[in-house]
């Protein structure tokens, strides 16, 4: 199993619970807004600590409350693609792309800088600042940055929702190519049924 997730978290009045196993390819985490989908991704990335439960990816345990295991976010090998891109505004596109690559252990770098630039068509953007990018360009850079960090799996949090229709199509194709050509397990959060049905091989409903 690529993802084995069983987590519970209470935050104020809201209770978030998720339990699923997911195979390779894209698994969609689908549900209405406010169901806690993003919190589940944050817990898998290590940004939010579950109250209890267990998280394993590709057989590697990232969190286990009972065993006292809680791998730090920087050591989880996760590529997180955010709805709002979160590119570093004080760095160029190239600086953003190389940020995680520089930090990755040499043997964790399974893809090269030139390869990512070509794969995502970023060649003309390298010298630009994030604020000079369109939404689609920014999301491509964010995906490239995640890949270059040596990620062994991707978490995508509504990566299309800030984009207009033509850009959505563009990024959707990029995600399909990441899925088909790079064979990375992807956990994909969305509230759009059509998007999910086109991309995902497996759907986990959250309510």
């Amino acid at each position: 199993m690529s993802f084995e997730v069983d987590v519970r978290l209470t935050r104020g009045a809201s209770r978030i619970a998720a339990r699923f196993d997911a195979g390779s390819g894209i698994t969609a985490l689908f549900g209405r807004s406010g169901a806690g989908k993003t919190s589940v991704l944050d817990m898998i990335a290590g940004l939010v600590r579950p109250d209890e439960g267990r998280i394993a990816v590709d057989g590697r345990v990232l969190f286990d409350a009972a065993e006292g295991i809680d791998v730090r976010p920087e050591a989880r090998g996760c590529g997180y693609v955010f709805q709002d891109y979160r590119l570093f505004p004080h760095m160029s596109v190239e600086g953003n792309l190389r940020y995680g690559w520089r930090l990755a252990a040499p043997d964790a770098r399974w893809i090269g800088f030139e390869q990512v630039v070509e794969f995502l068509g970023l060649g003309a953007l390298l010298a630009r600042r994030p604020r000079q990018l369109s939404g689609g360009e920014a999301q491509r850079v964010a995906i490239g940055r995640a890949l270059l960090s040596g990620a062994r799996f991707l978490l995508m949090d509504e990566p299309l929702s800030s984009l207009d229709a033509p850009r959505r199509e563009e990024i959707m194709r990029v995600i399909e190519r990441v899925r088909d050509e790079l064979a990375l397990p992807i956990l994909y959060v969305s509230h759009d049924r059509r998007e999910v049905e086109r991309l995902a091989g497996q759907i986990v409903e959250m309510d």
Binding site: L47, E74, Y80, R86, F88, H90, Y99, G100, R145
Partner: protein
């Protein structure tokens, strides 16, 4: 240019130099303290945070003469900290270092405010993104937080410097008004005002004060604009 009546005399140059030295020392000494306090107030969640916030801002609202008197008690010849500093070979009583200490305490609230605002304006979501890309907490601080907060930190330093240049009440109370040692620009202006016929000196020193303060404020504002204009002082 040999001592024309309207030119700046060597004594006045000495006063300007002393003022710049005192202010620079105050700014450099205050920076780490101000940064640590700003970080605690911006990011910390601990008991007594509101009290700490109040204490930091105290020099801003206390009568400066009270601050000077408190400094005398703590750092004076019989004060605990004063004796310790003297034993360490850095006496502050009636020395320029004491003037720098007074300026430092008075500049602290302004520096903490500017740095705190810049730290609070850093998008925590970018820090989270950096963590997922493999950066430890320390590296996130060095590569994301600090660079993004830097314009505000620099603005705070310039503000602290400007505030130190204008420091009067706490300084004269704490280390007196000694030419060549603790007599900075405001103290020299005050001394000159006490003596008839010194209007020329007063005018020159006052104009220099205006010029230096204006340059510092404009520099601070330029830095703030570069940060996106979230912590204006003007």
């Amino acid at each position: 240019m040999v001592s024309a009546p309207n030119s700046i005399s060597p004594e006045e140059w000495g006063i300007i130099w002393l003022s710049l030295k005192v202010s620079a020392a105050a700014m450099v000494a205050t920076l780490p303290v101000a940064f640590a306090l700003a970080w605690a107030l911006a990011r910390g969640r601990f008991f007594g945070r509101v009290l700490l916030d109040g204490l930091v801002h105290l020099p801003l609202v206390l009568p400066p003469v009270v601050t000077g008197w408190l400094l005398l008690i703590v750092f004076g010849g019989t004060g605990v900290a004063g004796r310790w500093l003297a034993a360490m070979g850095m006496p502050v009583m009636f020395r320029w270092t004491g003037a720098a200490l007074a300026a430092s305490v008075m500049a602290l609230p302004l520096m903490v405010r500017a740095i705190r605002l810049s730290l609070e304006s850093v998008d925590r979501r970018l820090e989270a993104a950096a963590r997922t890309l493999g950066a430890s907490r320390g590296r996130v601080f060095a590569t994301i937080t600090l660079p993004l907060a830097l314009p505000g930190v620099l603005a705070g330093m310039v503000l602290g410097f400007a505030r130190s240049l204008g420091e009067f009440g706490a300084t004269i109370t704490f280390v007196s008004n000694i030419p060549g040692e603790t007599q900075t620009l405001p103290l020299a202006i005050y001394a000159a005002l006490q003596v008839p016929g010194q209007e020329g000196i007063v005018t020159r020193l006052a104009l220099i004060s205006v010029g230096l303060s204006l340059v510092a404020l404009v520099a601070s504002e330029v830095l703030t604009r570069r940060m996106g204009g979230r912590s204006h002082v003007l």
